[in-house]
């Protein structure tokens, strides 16, 4: 039997029994929703519908409803795309990479982190679709047999790699998430009183019986999927970064992009997990499972990835100077001092300076402070993508074509819409899915539950 070292902080606080965990996890689903939930979903729905309206308007009238021009062909669309994909990185990292590294603290947060991943990737996937001039021909990007002769997609195009990267990532994430959900759905099925609900959960739980064989298969599949998902965490944003890195535009054509983008993605993903979990643990009273220790751990990751991103920014500047390429040098000078200086310095402040506060234990264990920083980080990461895309494009090689970009209400509306959509999905999830992987969590109750730890300390003195 494996016992955890007594020096480690307990991962589950309070005097919890297995049954307590079951009850706590099932509570948000089985009880009526708090008023705060209704307010939140109403606001989210309004935002979502506004976004739907803006998307329909775009499709009906044309991309001209956005603020783009001949020089700046991408702006908020791809900024939002990269931003949402980045956010969708934390979930898989937490559940897959930390599973492989046997980080048990992941267990109370991986479910929601993964849900967030999937919902974020859905938002992200919207943008490559709607940014097309002719979305009705979007199927052209799939290498499908067709009647156009031997017409094939262009495998040289990073945008095509994106299609594969995002769809693979999305499907693996969904499967991984769902596999984890099966025993928990079974738990809900077993507790359900209403026949309809019971029926739904029994379908969702795939006839889970909790047999040893089931558990063995469950573990195996989890491990295999974790193995599959881990490279994806690195590959997805690497490929997204190649949209830019393989181009010839100064400010895009940068070999540092893959690691820089992955670090940035994890950075923003963890920030978004923080934002959501801090709200959720409060709303559903899950402070015993999502503890300050979890928050602190994630803050440390934010601090580290934030610093990596900062180093990347400085490296870019150095390389621009060192390269001796006049276009490159101008592109970076223009970022910092040109018309979009405010975007650059917002990015620098939010992404590089703000996470440095996490060096202080007092700050990184402060919930309010963490919450604020988590939002600041995501603002900063949005600006990072905006800076990369817009400030590189707006002044590239030929000054005759230099231009500016300003969003229209449609640009803004679609972005707000995706935030609304994201929260609609997340709020529905929180009320119908077990938000904590309770089956997994129960496996560490005896080794890392506060009560059991105390008991062990008393009984054994030292182990």
């Amino acid at each position: 039997m494996h016992y955890e070292s007594p020096v480690r902080e307990p991962l589950i606080l309070g005097d919890k029994s297995y049954h307590d965990i079951t009850v706590d996890v099932a509570k948000p689903i089985e009880t009526t929703a708090p008023k705060s939930w209704w307010i939140a979903i109403s606001i989210s729905l309004v935002m979502f519908l506004w976004g739907v309206g803006c998307i329909l308007y775009t499709i009906g009238v044309g991309i001209g409803t956005w603020g783009l021009n001949k020089t700046v062909g991408w702006a908020w669309d791809i900024t939002n795309f990269v931003w949402w994909v980045g956010i969708g990185h934390a979930g898989t990292l937490i559940s897959a990479v930390l599973l492989l590294f046997r980080q048990k603290w992941r267990m109370s947060i991986n479910r929601s982190a993964e849900a967030m991943t999937i919902f974020a990737v859905i938002q992200a996937a919207l943008f490559p679709g709607i940014h097309m001039g002719r979305i009705w021909l979007a199927y052209f990007v799939f290498p499908i047999p067709n009647t156009f002769g031997s017409l094939w997609v262009n495998f040289n195009s990073p945008l095509l790699w994106d299609v594969f990267a995002i769809s693979t990532y999305f499907s693996v994430s969904v499967v991984f998430w769902y596999v984890g959900l099966i025993p928990d759905f079974a738990m809900l099925r077993d507790r359900a009183v209403k026949p309809v609900v019971k029926h739904i959960y029994s379908i969702l739980s795939f006839g889970w019986g909790g047999k040893a064989k089931h558990w063995q298969r469950f573990e195996e599949v989890s491990l295999i999927l974790a193995g599959l998902a881990t490279p994806l965490v690195l590959s997805v944003h690497t490929i997204v970064s190649m949209d830019f890195a393989t181009s010839v535009i100064p400010g895009w054509h940068t070999t540092i992009f893959p690691p820089y983008f992955v670090a940035g993605a994890i950075f923003s993903g963890f920030a978004m997990v923080q934002t959501l979990l801090i709200i959720m643990r409060k709303m559903f009273k899950m402070e015993d499972y999502i503890t300050i220790q979890h928050i602190e751990m994630m803050n440390i990751i934010i601090m580290i990835t934030g610093s990596i991103v900062g180093i990347a920014y400085i490296t870019e500047l150095f390389i621009a100077w060192y390269s001796g390429v006049e276009y490159e040098q101008y592109a970076f000078l223009n970022r910092a001092t040109g018309p979009y200086w405010w975007a650059y310095w917002s990015m620098m402040t939010c992404n590089v300076f703000s996470p440095q506060f996490m060096w202080f234990k007092k700050l990184r264990t402060n919930l309010v402070f963490t919450f604020i920083i988590s939002i600041v980080v995501n603002i900063g990461m949005w600006f990072e993508r905006f800076v990369i895309i817009v400030t590189s494009l707006h002044r590239d090689y030929l000054p005759s074509s230099w231009s500016m970009f300003s969003p229209t209400f449609v640009d803004i509306g679609i972005f707000i819409g995706t935030i609304g959509f994201f929260f609609v999905l997340f709020l529905l999830y929180a009320r119908s899915f077990p938000v904590i992987a309770q089956a997994e969590l129960k496996t560490i109750l005896k080794s890392s539950g506060e009560n059991y730890k105390k008991l062990r300390e008393k009984g054994h003195g030292h182990h």
Partner: protein, 1014 residues
């Protein structure tokens, strides 16, 4: 009986056996299994087609049928019942014709397809004005202008021709017979037929006075030549032997007397020992000033005195007048050069004042240029205006002595300067008759409006210079119930003569050698020219006094014709309205150009909105008693001290749906018919003006974009020193981008390899190529608002860059920080050197756009072209982002049916659609487009060659832009044909690729600009 004969099927039948009977009763010999099949449940269950399968098939076939029903709407095209002999569908016919419209004369070829004129091409066999300007290229669109007047109007109601002719003739007769004047106000008439008919009218109606007005008057010049050479005509310029041009405010490459010299100018400016040198003194930055080797600022009011100074300096018999110090030293230097180039130089004067022209002519005379570079035998007949006649007519009108006024293609209410007082007194005339192509501002006050035909629907004979006679022939039947001026005159004179016969008759009266049909085929015939008359003596002392008196301090305003609209004839032409001005790069507007220092003084500015759109403040401009309000200000370098400029022809209120409310009307504040006015006061007004300026950055930021050198360096130094190739440090030593490329090279040896050379030394920025491209490739018009947002759709643009005082060298010398350096580099010099650079798709052989398209919609051809497959394009715009040249254009909206573009896009109405080139697709919304190097022309030429079993010959065809380029800056061809011009140009030492160091290996290349600086 034969038909009662019976055949038996066998013996059974014959004997009528029961088997045969039962067989006859049953249709099928054996029982069909259907009853079992449907009836037997067991069999049904064992069948492989289950109920589910059945439903699947049903569902599928329903869905398939539904989908199959969703077909594209069928557009019917009706074939000829009797095919016209000369029309083969898909094969264009070309007709030679001559144009004289809005002061522009050109000999052209009109391309017609299936009976529709769709494109105007230059008639390069012609010596005089055989090229096409932007306006000539664009003039075809005016044929299909839905705002053309379609029926004769009397008193605001539609009438019929017999009635209006009768009524108008009666009005003329009544005025004439009551002893009042009849004023014929026309543009310059160069048709001998029209002149003859007007003469006959004048004989019939003794009180008829013919007044000429066409926007820009050269009356002062004509007054001088009337005295000097005895004829009211201008001399022609002849640059064939010129080695030095000194121009004073004469924009001879753009808006001058109407003689086009850009082709000879460009030919003479080929870099070499005998390269023509060009010095320009001017008050505002014109395209001639931009082309000049040295350009000096000179206030318009000082032009005459500067010329007098130069005249005196060169030995003219006037005392040297006072000019300011800097001008004097510039003139001294020029005088030296002129002396050295005596007999091969040419001095030109702009404006409408007699004194300037007198001194310019005097200088040419002193230098022995007359008869060499300035031809007084072969005269330019495009101008015959007489300002004195106009002012006399105005006086008669004001005193009520005018009975009838007939305007012929003259929009007097809009265009006649308010200060003349003509239009204010128009209501004193009993009858106002206007012959017009639209219900313009004048038609609104006229009693009768008679619709004029377009020149492409007309017969005519034109006599633009002493040695040129051109013929016009219709290329399409009359679209509307219109008549041309000559027809109306014939009707008034009561002559029942067909126009064709009248033209033929007039032609025969000229006693030319060529038969009429030959002349019609060629478009132009030459005419013998009488020797020049002896030059009369001219009193220069009087002119010297006038010149000194003209000098004025205080603010002055220059009125100029814009490259796009000219005198305003094309005010409702969307192609031309959308053409960015070559200098300011502003489209859809006129504006008061003020220098940066003047702007500061006035407290006005231009500023950029967050989306890159340019705004400007408004000012109120007062000249004398007249005031023009809400004039937008555009800050422009290169203006003379305390000088502002405003284009004429804008500010229309009744031009049509595209041209209304575009700009302000300069005629409100014009000083008579002078080209400039002094004593101007300008006051800042409230509000902001929205400009459609498509270029935000005006300098090259120290980059090698337009490679430029001096003639001295070109002649004496190795080309490596002035045409520097960027080298990269590699482990193999210093290598160029093409030597370090990671790309697999395409096969460029087999078949054709289309390349284009763009000579930056020849390009004068006139914009003819831009409009030619619009016409050839069905480029949509997007309107001011979209232009303002930098969403121009032009496949070919002409970038204009100014020099800046801040350069890399200056920054290094003065130790200026990079940030400051770049900020200062953005600011153009006060009197900048200007360069033009036509940029279209560069057809990169290592194309960044091709690699990034996810669906391979843009691909490389084996012939060095970058193709665009519109049908495959899904519109990700990734290609446009990755294009270093930013030449890709995205269809942001559905320009052909979105109601926001109805007013501007001619392709939205049935009439405007007739100009579309049927060989080129109209692109859908959401699709990327760009220059194809006129792929339709390439294919056509290849097919023709294939049919003839030969190779494509060099120069057999060319792209629309290259064809339109009068100065020959664009040369297109196959570099695999080693004898081709383009192959030769590719080896030129001046050759370079734009952004060579990006390694795109374009098929378009440029030739270094060489300035012949003193």
């Amino acid at each position: 009986m034969a038909n009662s004969k019976k055949y038996w099927k066998g013996f059974d039948d014959l004997i009528d056996s029961p088997i045969s009977k039962s067989l006859a009763e049953n249709e099928f010999a054996e029982p069909l299994p259907s009853t079992d099949f449907y009836g037997d449940e067991k069999k049904l269950e064992s069948s492989s087609t289950s109920r589910r399968d059945f439903l699947k098939f049903l569902g599928f076939s329903t869905a398939a049928a539904t989908l199959a029903a969703c077909e594209a709407p069928v557009v019917e095209s009706i074939p000829y019942v009797v095919k016209p002999e000369e029309i083969i569908p898909g094969v264009p016919n070309y007709y030679a014709t001559s144009i004289f419209q809005g002061g522009d004369f050109a000999s052209v070829l009109v391309k017609t397809r299936e009976g529709r004129p769709i494109k105007i091409e230059p008639n390069k066999d012609v010596a005089f004005n055989g090229g096409t300007s932007a306006r000539i290229q664009g003039s075809i669109l005016s044929l299909y202008d839905a705002n053309r007047l379609q029926e004769p109007m009397a008193g605001g109601d539609i009438s019929s021709w017999p009635e209006v002719i009768k009524a108008t003739k009666a009005a003329i007769e009544k005025a004439n017979n009551s002893g009042k004047q009849v004023l014929f106000v026309t543009q310059n008439i160069i048709s001998p037929l029209a002149n003859k008919l007007v003469g006959q009218m004048a004989m019939q109606y003794s009180n008829l006075h013919h007044i000429i007005f066409d926007g820009t008057s050269f009356s002062g010049k004509l007054d001088f030549y009337e005295k000097a050479i005895g004829k009211r005509a201008l001399p022609t310029m002849n640059l064939d032997n010129a080695s030095l041009i000194v121009s004073f405010n004469a924009d001879f490459l753009g808006e001058y007397t109407g003689q086009s010299v850009s082709s000879t100018y460009a030919a003479k400016r080929k870099p070499g020992k005998s390269m023509l040198r060009h010095v320009q003194f001017e008050s505002m930055l014109s395209i001639s000033g931009a082309a000049a080797d040295n350009r000096y600022k000179l206030r318009a009011s000082e032009q005459a005195v500067a010329l007098a100074y130069l005249y005196s300096k060169l030995g003219g018999a006037v005392s040297k007048p006072n000019v300011n110090e800097s001008t004097a030293s510039q003139l001294d230097a020029v005088a030296k050069e002129l002396k050295a180039a005596a007999g091969t130089s040419l001095v030109l004067a702009g404006g409408n004042d007699e004194a300037s022209e007198a001194f310019a002519f005097g200088i040419n005379q002193l230098l022995g240029n007359v008869g060499k570079t300035l031809d007084v035998a072969n005269l330019l007949l495009l101008h015959a205006e007489n300002d004195a006649k106009l002012s006399n007519a105005t006086k008669s009108l004001a005193s009520g002595k005018v009975g009838a006024v007939v305007f012929v293609d003259v929009n007097a209410v809009h265009a006649l300067p308010k200060s003349l007082g003509f239009t204010a007194n128009l209501d004193k005339a009993d009858a106002v008759i206007t012959l017009t192509d639209r219900l313009d501002e004048t038609a609104a006050v006229a009693n009768y409006a008679l619709p004029l035909t377009h020149f492409l629907e007309s017969w005519n004979i034109l006599h633009p210079t002493s040695n040129t006679v051109g013929l016009s022939q219709p290329t399409i039947g009359k679209l509307f119930n219109t008549m041309q001026f000559e027809e109306v005159l014939l009707a008034w004179l009561g002559e029942d003569k067909k126009l064709y016969d009248a033209v033929k008759e007039t032609y025969s009266e000229l006693n030319l050698d060529a038969p009429f049909n030959t002349a019609l085929h060629d478009g132009v015939v030459s005419k013998e020219v009488a020797a020049a008359a002896a030059l009369a003596d001219v009193d220069y002392s009087g002119y010297a006094k006038a010149a000194s008196a003209a000098v004025s301090s205080g603010t002055e305003i220059v009125f100029y014709r814009s490259t796009a609209l000219g005198n305003g004839t094309y005010a409702n032409n969307p192609w031309l309205l959308e053409m960015p001005d070559p200098i300011s790069r502003v489209s859809w507007d006129n504006y008061l150009m003020v220098s940066p220092s003047k702007a500061e003084e006035l407290g006005v500015r231009n500023y950029t909105e967050s989306n890159g759109a340019v705004n400007g403040d408004y000012v109120t401009v007062t000249v004398g008693e007249n005031q023009l309000e809400n004039v937008p200000v555009f800050v422009q370098p290169g203006l003379a001290p305390d000088t502002v400029a405003l284009a004429i022809g804008y500010g229309r209120t009744a031009a049509g749906k595209a041209g209304n409310e575009v700009g302000v009307n300069a005629a409100t504040i014009m000083n008579g018919l002078q080209h400039w006015a002094t004593g101007v006061s300008i006051a800042k007004a409230s509000g902001k003006h929205e400009f459609a300026c498509i270029q935000l950055a005006h300098t090259m930021m120290g980059r090698k974009i337009v490679n430029e050198t001096t003639l001295e360096a070109f002649l004496n130094d190795s080309h490596e020193s002035w045409n520097v190739k960027t080298k990269f440090e590699t482990h193999k030593g210093q290598l160029t981008a093409s030597e370090t490329t990671l790309w697999q090279a395409h096969d460029h040896q087999t078949g054709h390899m289309w390349n284009m050379s763009i000579d930056l030394n020849s390009c004068i920025g006139c914009g003819a190529c831009v409009i030619a491209c619009n016409a050839e490739n069905n480029v949509p018009v997007v309107g001011k608002d979209e232009m303002r947002r930098h969403r121009d759709m032009h496949w070919l643009r002409i970038d204009r860059y100014y020099s800046s005082d801040m350069t890399e060298e200056v920054a290094e010398e003065e130790g200026i920080r990079a940030t400051t350096k770049f900020l200062k580099m953005e600011i153009a010099s006060d009197n900048p050197e200007v360069v033009f650079q036509p940029v279209m798709c560069q057809h990169c052989n290592n194309a960044p756009c091709e690699t990034v398209c996810p669906v391979a919609a843009t691909v490389h051809s084996a012939e060095g072209l970058n193709h665009m497959a519109y049908n495959r394009c899904i519109g990700t715009r990734y290609c446009a982002n990755n294009c270093p040249y930013k030449v890709r254009r995205f269809n942001w909206f559905s320009y052909e049916n979105n109601s926001d573009f109805t007013a501007v896009n001619p392709a939205q109405d049935d009439l405007g659609r007739m100009v579309l080139n049927p060989d080129v697709t109209v692109r859908a919304r959401g699709v990327m487009e760009k220059c194809s190097l006129c792929i339709q022309r390439i294919q056509y030429a290849k097919l023709e060659a294939k049919k003839d079993g030969r190779k494509v010959r060099d120069g057999e065809f060319t792209t629309a832009c290259a064809q339109a380029c009068d100065s020959g800056a664009l040369v297109f061809g196959d570099i695999n044909d080693s004898a081709s011009r383009v192959a030769e140009l590719k080896k030129d030492t001046r050759m370079y690729h734009l952004l060579e160091d990006v390694g795109t290996e374009p098929s378009i290349f440029y030739q270094t600009k060489v300035r012949n600086k003193a």
